[in-house]
């Protein structure tokens, strides 16, 4: 009889599973990921390696020496100790961050536009005091432009009423506002010395959100070719809130990481961050197998570095603000070993 090992569910809680049960979970995870994303399942040797990583009660797991990757730390800091620049310094000097990101707790370009001079001053101070590259990050956040928070009729209210054309028109109107705000903030941050911009949780409001982000990035890169641009996605596929929006003739709704990456490369993004959501009722092993399956097609065509999102509740990391190191380290190792990611 097999001995049961302690492992984790997607909510971080401990469960006991035998190695055979873990194997069955990674098999199921890759199959459902392959079905959803229309991607090939992981190979037998890749599944074997995942089982090796997860069928162990060691407190920590790590990549081989020489296989280390770059950590990009979007949303750097915990906002609980000193100024934001103090926190950036702490992450640079005490937590092994390879890149840093200045951010505001109101993580939206629309909000940042109103306090840009204040934020840009912090960027200048950060740049004077830090060595590691520092980008500024926020969300495109298209939903903020709809009523009651913004000036545009609320498409989420119009759609249930069957007013589809009006809902679509509203999203198109919101896109122009969002693009203007993102470019405005980018100009201020570039003037203050930023190394780059992060457009985080892009497509959170669907295909309109994604189109606004791509359009803004294209404008920024045309003006500042040396500006780094990280595009981090909100979830594994692009929701069709509009449904008919296209970029360079390609429909954005329904895109999975491989196609999201192609769009990112087309507008000049320098780092791409796919996001695969976690199922909290399934094991971390199941979630990692599924995440690897969904992201792998993007890795195979990537021309730019790919940093999958591995924060709370994405990429296989448990949905907890205090994630256990045994689970986080296994996710970190698995994504590097299986996908050969450029960073996390």
């Amino acid at each position: 009889m097999e001995r049961a090992l302690r492992t984790r569910l997607g909510d971080g809680s401990l469960v006991e599973m035998t190695p055979s049960e873990i194997r069955a979970d990674v098999q199921a995870g890759t199959e459902i990921g392959a079905r959803r994303a229309k991607a090939p399942p992981l190979t037998d040797s890749e599944l074997d390696h995942l089982v090796d990583i997860f069928a162990s009660e060691s407190k920590f797991s790590a990549v081989d020496m020489g296989d280390e990757i770059v950590l990009s730390f979007d949303g750097t800091g915990n906002l609980d100790s000193g100024s934001r620049v103090d926190e950036l310094y702490s992450y640079q000097s005490h937590r092994g961050a390879d890149m840093l990101e200045l951010f505001n707790i109101d993580y939206s370009y629309k909000a940042i536009k109103t306090i840009l001079s204040f934020e840009a001053q912090w960027m200048k101070t950060a740049q004077l005091n830090l060595v590691a590259p520092v980008q500024y990050g926020a969300m495109p956040d298209l939903g903020r432009y709809s009523m009651p928070d913004g000036p545009i009729p609320n498409w989420s209210e119009l759609m249930p009423l069957g007013r589809i054309d009006e809902a679509r028109d509203a999203q198109v109107a919101a896109i122009s506002h969002a693009v203007e705000d993102m470019v405005f903030v980018a100009e201020g941050m570039w003037e203050a010395g930023a190394d780059g911009l992060d457009f985080d949780t892009a497509a959170a409001a669907g295909d309109g959100d994604f189109l606004a982000t791509l359009t803004a990035i294209e404008k920024i890169k045309s003006r500042h070719p040396d500006c780094g641009i990280e595009l981090g996605m909100a979830s594994e596929y692009v929701l069709g809130m509009h449904g008919e929006l296209t970029y360079k003739g390609e429909r954005l709704a329904g895109m999975w990481p491989k196609d999201q990456l192609r769009m990112a490369e087309a507008v000049g993004v320098t780092m791409f961050g796919p996001a695969v959501n976690v199922n909290t009722t399934k094991s971390v092993a199941w979630n990692v197998a599924r995440a690897c399956t969904i992201i792998k097609p993007a890795m195979e065509i990537a021309q730019i570095p790919v940093h999958p999102n591995v924060g709370m509740g994405v990429g296989g990391v448990p949905m907890s603000p205090y994630p256990p190191a045994d689970a986080v380290s296994r996710v970190s190792r698995a994504l590097v070993d299986i996908l050969k990611v450029d960073g996390l």
């Binding site: 920590f60 280390e68 950590l71 060595v131 320098t270 591995v310 256990p324 190191a325």
Partner: protein
């Protein structure tokens, strides 16, 4: 990466798979990714070539401490060792721009606003 408490999230990833930031050359490889869009293998090879070291040394804090000292790329002061007479912060970024042969936005702004000649 993403959000979570610093020990559980940031430190776990850093120890499990990270290059080590300024303890090694993670910040330099990261800079080539962020601003030049280089994939990991290309970025590591580029940085190793500019530093004159093997790619396998890039994540070794013992080897890279001396390389960063010799090239003035900035190091992390600790209780036992401080570096007030060596390059740090913006000073180190001037050196990084030169050693890696890449423009750094904040360095160029500093040079312009301080009235320094290009390359000074």
């Amino acid at each position: 990466m993403g959000v979570g408490d610093p020990l559980g999230m940031a430190c776990s990833h850093a120890l499990a798979s990270g290059m080590g930031g300024m303890r090694t050359t993670g910040d330099l490889v990261g800079r080539m990714q962020m601003t030049r869009g280089m994939r990991l293998r290309e970025a590591k090879a580029y940085v190793a070539g500019k530093l004159g070291v093997a790619v396998s040394d890039l994540a070794d804090p013992i080897a890279m401490h001396d390389v960063r000292r010799d090239l003035g790329l900035g190091r992390i002061p600790v209780q036992e060792l401080t570096y007030p007479t060596h390059a740090g912060a913006m000073e180190a970024k001037f050196r990084i721009a030169e050693v890696l042969d890449v423009p750094i936005n904040s360095v160029q702004r500093f040079r312009d606003r301080a009235g320094l000649e290009s390359g000074a």
